[in-house]
Symmetry: C2
Subunit: 207 residues, 2 copies
């Protein structure tokens, strides 16, 4: 029987919307997804671990990897680079395994150009006011950075049309359930499984 390929799921959305929290909760329940760890030049935050939350690199290291074509996508956001190592994703997909990316909006748009068959999920704040509260409460940003992030968020919400799904992060549990439903239902998409099940027709001995 023809083997089904894995699916690339991309969770993205404005900075501060809660992508990391949704991703963490999702992976507590779901062992069939393979998380692709991003690479970044931003400073490591308290509680984060290199090689688990991100691969933390210097600007020089990151730019060298871009030159070598080793990144599936990369983006500069505020003053930092974020990117996705390429080979991990393509190897998994071809082996029939699902890959899950949690990345910034600029990166997601690049991945869509290279992997239009991926499934793109936009994690949206319930409102811009709520997003502002979350960024301010994180307590790691200056007033100017908060302002920049909100402007960026508005621009990013305008890119929603490039996505397949919109999940509002009003409550983390609800958002996680929706992402899980998207993962499950995408595996039932007719265009993904049609060729496999048409094999049923080859069994003509019955009639």
């Amino acid at each position: 029987m023809e083997k089904e390929k894995g699916i690339l799921f991309v969770l993205s959305g404005p900075s501060g919307v809660g992508k990391g929290t949704v991703r963490q909760r999702l992976f507590e329940h779901n062992t069939d997804l393979h998380y692709s760890i991003s690479m970044t030049t931003r400073q490591i935050r308290e509680g984060e671990t290199d090689g688990i939350d991100y691969f933390f690199k210097s600007r020089e290291e990151f730019e060298a990897l871009v030159e070598q074509g080793e990144l599936l996508e990369y983006a500069q956001y505020v003053d930092n680079y974020y990117g996705t190592p390429k080979s991990y994703v393509t190897d998994m997909i071809n082996a029939g395994k699902d890959v899950f990316l949690e990345i910034e909006v600029q990166g997601a748009i690049q991945v869509k150009e290279r992997f239009p068959e991926g499934v793109f999920i936009f994690l949206s704040p319930p409102s811009l006011n709520e997003l502002k509260n979350r960024i301010v409460n994180r307590g790691t940003e200056t007033d100017d950075l908060v302002k920049n992030r909100l402007k960026e968020a508005q621009n990013e919400i305008r890119l929603m049309h490039a996505y397949d799904y919109v999940v509002v992060n009003d409550q983390v549990d609800h958002a996680v359930e929706k992402v899980q439903a998207i993962v499950k239902s995408e595996h039932c998409k007719r265009e993904r499984v049609e060729n496999i099940y048409k094999k049923i027709l080859e069994d003509e001995s019955l009639c």
Copy 2:
């Protein structure tokens, strides 16, 4: 805020695949779906109730309703008519409620012509042999009818391309979980919610 319309979900597939069992189990867990009861001229089976499992009608009654344009779809299968009363479905959708139809394949194709925005789920047997076993074990069909049903099933599997999703009914619980995931994820489809969430952009007072 603009109100989201309801979604029409159509569960269909070959006779004997287990559509009724999946539908029953689904409705034990899910109260947000509104089941549209079909109309049929086939004989009532043991354990079935008129007005709950189907509206059971004579051929004469059924044909009169077709003439009056009161059916969203209807089909003749083996020697019986099956159909869907129209007004219930359209009223629910417009009121923002989801409607769930469980119908034969010929009916589903008609509904697709009239409601292309519906979500069409093909419930597939794991194999034709398994389908044969299920029909034979039901014990209500003659050998000739079993043969007819299997030929019909092969023709119906060829119509799979008209559907949005394929759910294999290998285990009822798995099939039900997949249908539930489809229902949840369809409400996250970007094209359904984009206009609603773009309202977020109207809140410009922050920047």
